[in-house]
Symmetry: D2
Subunit: 321 residues, 4 copies
């Protein structure tokens, strides 16, 4: 079984951190051109409106056609524009909250025009940094209301909330898989679900496989981001380069639940050739999927049924046979 792979278009930008800048900036066409070179990837995830404005939708359609790329999802920019630094749907300033709604709704329109079914809301500034800084309860209300209003705009576009524990705020409201589900339950609309990022799972001390299973249980696994890290921070490294077994288990569970969405790379190859880092990531996922077949899907089933660690370790070793 093969997954449908895409890459975040933002990977072909400058990739800076708070200290320096790692890559040259590229214009829109150059970004598409780079994305198109990645072997085995047929999709791009686009940040709107940070990467192009509404007037350029037709141009983007042409680029997609020209480079034979599909849009795996729209990531709404509620974090790159400095106006969001005090939050988007939960900003104290009502005007900003209204703009968050408008930008999100416009993103839905863009998604539809670009034949994408997924709009991801990652609310990175909606959180807090210091003790005593917010009224948690009021903010949760704002989240529920804002997302409900966005998602009500068009029921055929899936609104996927991406959870992340921290960064850029020291604490982000929608921090874990379970908190995302709680919020999704509160919003209570069929087209509202979750974007799962394996790195965010790792550094919340979630087992990625468990979170995939949990999100799927409620029919809410809408979209998937892949990358890797040392379980301490969102380093966005090459997939499988640090956490081999857990990533293998995550892929096993994606197959087990018959996940049919995209696997979108959200890596930050600061010091690497971006194309190579993407290709190594996809190759690693493909390899792991092959290893699952090599060991035999039913043998993993047997592992899990046994609940016996020493038996599991022995069976898993067959990936090296």
């Amino acid at each position: 079984m093969s997954f449908r792979y895409s890459v975040g278009l933002w990977l072909f930008g400058e990739l800076s951190d708070r200290f320096t800048t790692y890559h040259p900036s590229r214009n829109l066409e150059e970004k598409f051109s780079e994305a198109a070179k990645i072997k085995s990837s047929r999709g791009v995830e686009i940040m709107y409106p940070a990467e192009f404005t509404y007037e350029k939708v037709d141009e983007v359609k042409n680029l997609l056609r020209g480079y034979k790329l599909q849009v795996s999802g729209i990531l709404v920019d509620l974090f790159a524009n400095p106006k969001w630094i005090y939050g988007s749907f939960t900003a104290k300033d009502e005007k900003i909250r209204k703009e968050a709604l408008e930008t999100s709704i416009q993103s839905i329109e863009v998604a539809e025009r670009l034949d994408s079914k997924i709009v991801t809301l990652w609310l990175g500034h909606d959180g807090y940094d210091y003790p005593f800084q917010v009224d948690y309860n009021e903010k949760w209300d704002m989240l529920v209301e804002g997302i409900r209003e966005v998602a009500s705009h068009k029921s055929n576009i899936k609104i996927a909330i991406e959870y992340k524990l921290k960064e850029p705020r020291t604490h982000i409201f929608v921090g874990t898989a379970a908190k995302a589900l709680l919020l999704v339950n509160d919003v209570d609309l069929k087209n509202v679900g979750v974007t799962f990022d394996i790195g965010h799972a790792f550094y919340s001390y979630e087992s990625p496989a468990e979170s995939i299973s949990l999100l799927h249980r409620y029919g809410k696994l809408f979209h998937v981001h892949f990358n890797d890290n040392y379980r301490d921070w969102d380093h966005d490294m090459i997939v499988g380069s640090v956490n081999f077994w857990d990533t293998l288990e995550a892929i096993y569970w994606l197959r087990r639940i018959n996940y049919e969405g995209w696997l979108s790379l959200d890596i930050y190859p600061y010091r690497e050739n971006v194309r190579e880092a993407c290709e190594r990531s996809i190759e690693n996922i493909e390899l792991m999927s092959e290893l699952i077949d090599k060991v035999g899907f039913e043998n993993f089933e047997h592992c899990i049924k046994s609940e016996n660690a020493t038996e599991i370790v022995a069976i898993l070793r067959n990936v090296f046979r």
Copy 2:
């Protein structure tokens, strides 16, 4: 405002870890005698049936009367008896699952006879250690069913699920406030809620105040454990000895939501005089509550409304005036 304080009766046992034993063992009466000496505490939380068997309930009633102590809650032993090491409600072995139900239901009976309204289920072995070790989805079913069956026994006794990220398993199913709420929602019974442990919140990178607010939002904050740690592990230290500001904020929120339950100490004063460690903990909580009054409840409200870190830091400094 003063809280109702209690201490875990288990604090007066040997307090051992995997390396050594720190205190002398004590019999039941000695434990009560020690608990009764703690200034400002009027309650004990009892682990059943680890600390006494069903036949001894009348003896316990006498001890409670004699020492003028109330039972703040029953903590069901689903973790100290070695039979639970592969889980209780989620054990692979059906016989164990049945025993978990029986023990929990018996604990409800004991709670009723001892005039306690709270039965805490902490499912420390219900989890996993290794990748590929469990079928997460099946286990969640078992949790929902088991807890529902327990809670259906008597609707007037509150069943409080205590969440904890890890230890003794490397991963515990009910790991965070949001996951506990998700489970509670799935069980869908009015008398099922959550026991909040401030240390568990800290080391899941939760803001304790936010979790208190979230649990209260759904009417599910049933019981509270206090202690402290370095945000890395459940060290169960003296309250407020490490995290001053966050603990202050937690107490502020407990007051703000008019929490009327118990504050129960679940500390592990391995190398300390247990009575003194409990008294210092209660004094710290009382002090913090006084500091809130000193600064003025409305000034905290102002802090939170401002969302302005530099203003907040300036206001908080008034605790030292």
Copy 3:
């Protein structure tokens, strides 16, 4: 007792992270103007050559005089210029290693001309991200040699190595206080020591007070950066806003060892008024120093001698009397 406070001049720049930019950019004079407004601070720490080039040293002298500011230290830019992203003293490319030497030596000249005795080397890109990425032993040799060559340039300027566990690399070679000391011992020059950053200590799970004591033991505590975080990452928050007790203990030890250097603020007030964040930080340090006097220096001595946690907690509570 009062400390000599300074602020990093870089605090008055854009303050960006990988997602967005938080403050307007300012030219050199504006930065000095802002730095001069901070109550109780008389110094600036300057990043050279990122903030001004060698030709501008006289201009900087004039600005210093005009704004009545001293230079607390020069922080050599071996991290902001993109040429350093594969390391400075340990870069694979010999040309870069040579430039690292030249830039550092030029920084010493600048320090001397600006009447500063401290040149800090923070080697943030000298590390690795992936397993199997470097020859650790060869890199350590390069560190020793590079720093030795730099420090040999002028024995009257102190070369202070700033340690940090991670960011921007996932692993930085000089990661902890002890590793910095090990390196300093290997360099074996009197004028080579350490810049201690309290936040770096926190998120390496060091007790800041212990690291201060350890660095002082070998006569190597050359310079100090203050800020705060949640022990998980270098959030560079307002001093004392999260970790009250540990910061108090750090200040106690700075006084105990009669630290006579600068306390330089290295905070990143992304969403705050920078001046206010600096002033709150200094006020918190001053307050803590007053609290130490209030409790009585000798009472802290008594705490420490007792080694008794319950006694310590009782004594510490006097900060609120």
Copy 4:
């Protein structure tokens, strides 16, 4: 290349934690009998005097002979006997410090009689739990003096200090590889070095390979413990079950530096068959060593020389070919 494997004799005891007990207790002969069953292991590491007293040395010699086992090292019990809970070499009580010396020196005698060259000192209670609890500088003096006195007893027995960041104390003095080296340098005796535990490295955010390289650089890698964890705590899991790539890199470096000591298993298979958990661990190490040969030692060398992550990931993938 094959390593010399041994197991901690303590693995065959009750293996308890602070909540429950996981295995039956066994007498000394039973422990040896169990240890002897482990395929590919020829050694035992013995905790003295916790596992046998001085009078029993001849009996132990007979058991060793009978079961064809060698002693890989003596682990001095400075942590299991409750008398050590306030520290051993750094205890406030002079009498305890003296006993720590005596016990350690006696352990050297025992090592010699049992033909072992390694005596490990793991000083788990020598640390602190609370801010303001100890005089860090005075304690370091005590460490240096105590270890120097012990090591001076016999220059032909290697004294190996095992570092660990925390547990049972929240902070242990000898916490990291670099801090252990700093201490070893201060002691300044040829026969004083370090016991490296891969799990301790992981949860201090050390790269195990880097620490192995660093310890070897100074000729101080005396002894090695293997296990695994999630980089958050000393879970003592089956080797390689979580961290595949880092463990592979550690084994590569052990071979590269021609480590000729023992690889001793210090796992805690709470819920597993202990023999199986040990055998799986050794098999994983052997497998990894074979994988290194399969990829080719020189290809790893090439990886490291390239410093290029995408190239490294591609080469490492050959372990699956």
